[in-house]
Symmetry: C3
Subunit: 138 residues, 3 copies
């Protein structure tokens, strides 16, 4: 059994953003030399997500509006977590979008459907944050 | 280490449905011969889910009503993604229900609690779509 | 390849609670002797969650309020699942918070960001329930 690990770093200049990290994850997989196995990709921060969906800007706009409706940023004082912080909503948005994805590796490739792409979802940016890629297999 | 892969195909005649795929997944596991390890089961489409919950029709009705309230299909024009499409809500519903499950394999069985069953959640059906099962272990 | 399995038991005296189980999961990892691999931790019940977020009581209060707004317990009769039961809302809350987490193991440790902690989320307690920890690696 082989394992391979890589951390991806982000410093998003806005509070919220969706970044397609599929090429970075594919690069990790290539470097690992692993042909068959499982790949875990997770946010290492609790106000960010890693998720799989469509690389379509209209949809990303819709996600932004929808998440803001389900877990509004304002009024900041509505959340008890917001004592010296203003990111309680980011902890909620991240639960809906998820912390992690697990992807099958087959013949040295991410075993994906046609439109599957991996995204980093930032909900409390403007500082350096990390994503972990861990691969196990042969 | 052994790996095994199978794609399950669906062609749901309605827009939305929940299908119990536990017997299909158990069949994959049996064919793999793997006794100890991890099993990944994920939707290969971004408007569908794989999730674990109860096989109870009342609950499935409640999920349908609840998801429609959190991410309504109508009005279709409320979503920017819906240019030549009408499935933006399906991309949201899938995020709440999840893309994938990872299940422990112990003694050649899915290591499940009493009521755990695996479902395919279709939110934009009426066409052929796939689920991936990938198993690693020994 | 090595595998290790442990069940953690809970008997939460209230309907809902969030319990930090990170020390229990770390104890399983130590006992497994596994240094590199993946760890799955999942609720074995369909009205409970395992998730990763912050160990901060203000945030846990905010989650409780937020989940109750998205999937209210009352009126119990609003859910078809509630025939001889009153836990339909718990099945919804669990989908938002998630069934499971998969964690990378590196150098014999949970490969975590600074604030990541694993929680058992109970949404229908007052009875004995289980969490599964399954570890594979070397």
């Amino acid at each position: 059994m082989k394992t391979h690990k890589k951390e991806l770093w982000f410093d998003i200049p806005t509070r919220r953003a969706f970044i397609n990290i599929t090429p970075d994850v594919e690069d990790c997989l290539r470097k690992s030399g692993i042909k068959e196995g499982l790949l875990l990709c997770n946010a290492m921060h609790i106000t960010a997500s890693v998720f799989i969906n469509d690389d379509e800007t209209g949809l990303h706009h819709d996600y932004e509006v929808w998440l803001e409706k389900l877990a509004p940023h304002e009024p900041v004082s509505n959340y008890r977590h917001n004592v010296g912080e203003d990111n309680a909503d980011a902890h909620m948005k991240r639960q809906i979008m998820g912390r992690e994805v697990v992807v099958a590796i087959t013949d040295g490739q991410l075993d994906f459907g046609t439109w599957e792409q991996i995204f980093y979802g930032e909900f409390d940016g403007r500082r350096k944050k990390r994503v972990l890629v861990k691969i196990i297999g042969e």
